[in-house]
Symmetry: C2
Subunit: 200 residues, 2 copies
């Protein structure tokens, strides 16, 4: 978001390199453990360039993550919820292999940094809003009973995270569809039994 | 596993302190980023005690995690699969708040360290064996169609990880039962549709 402050200038290019390196190191080491020295090394700049621009670690992390703040995981509306959710899970799995995807996972887990956490929550809230409206359209069409979007996203995304955490497991369309099928069928079955999964 | 080498001796106590501190720092910083200096500080020993005993970082991590290698997440067999799975998820959520639970999550995500990864896989394999036999008994009793235990554990545990990653969300029996109900109902519904979830 702030990367275009001085478009084309040398300072802007240096800042962009530093922020890119920060995301890469957040992906590997997390918020509390990544080192300014390594950020400088990767960005090919002197350490003082990092310290001068971001004396506060929180600010560096927040600015680095904020460059991707509007990045969504694509969730289409083809009219076929099963296909759209399975595609969404494949796109999520792909994001979890990117530096930003890993950085986001690491950053949300580090609860020490309240300001970082609220930046991340902004990313999640925007993504949740997209999911919510997709689910509402599915409900209007009678594809799915009303469902809490946060619960839904945890049900479909949680298994993907665990598959992607382990390098020895594959995650392909087969797994994406199995997860989707179980969650959609489970929500339909439990809603008709009592409806206590519905919300808002 | 090696902690009882010199039972009661000073060396054994120092080693135990170092291994405990290592798990705490793995929980916060992960495999690649935790520092020997901080391990020594926390354990109240000199840095050379850590280096001398574990010149290789992999060995320190493996020994620290191995002390908990047989730790299971309790999975009872009361004859009521729903209750037992919900209890299991509450126990998993509790473990994810402990240093070992966080350390395990961080360690499995760090794919750079092949030997560490295979130690962790041992922990997971033992846990999976417990789940597999519980699921098999449920299938014999007609409570659940045959299901791949790895898929099942990802379906029920994945959402718990995402709830526990966020300090602003609660995870109580209500959430544990909602997850359990959707997964059990979804597996029953999809198995009767085609049975392609069955395995082994």
């Amino acid at each position: 978001m702030t990367q275009a402050k001085r478009p084309g200038g040398r300072t802007a290019r240096v800042r962009a390199k530093i922020l890119t390196a920060t995301v890469e190191l957040l992906a590997r080491d997390g918020v509390s453990a990544f080192k300014y020295e390594e950020v400088a090394d990767r960005a090919g700049v002197h350490k003082t360039s990092v310290y001068r621009n971001w004396p506060d670690r929180n600010d560096l992390v927040i600015e680095a993550l904020s460059r991707h703040a509007d990045q969504q995981i694509p969730l289409a509306d083809t009219g076929d919820l099963r296909t759209d959710v399975a595609d969404f899970l494949l796109a999520l799995a792909a994001e979890l292999e990117t530096p930003f995807g890993r950085a986001l996972v690491n950053a949300v887990q580090s609860r020490e940094y309240e300001e970082v956490t609220s930046t991340i929550r902004g990313v999640f809230d925007r993504r949740l809003a997209t999911l919510r409206s997709r689910l509402e359209r599915a409900t209007l069409r009678g594809e799915l009973p009303p469902v809490d979007p946060l619960f839904f996203t945890h049900m479909i995304s949680g298994p993907v995270h665990l598959y992607r955490n382990r390098a020895d497991l594959t995650f392909s369309r087969l797994e994406a569809e199995r997860i989707t099928d179980v969650v959609l069928a489970g929500i339909r079955a439990t809603a008709s039994q009592g409806g206590d999964l519905a919300s808002s």
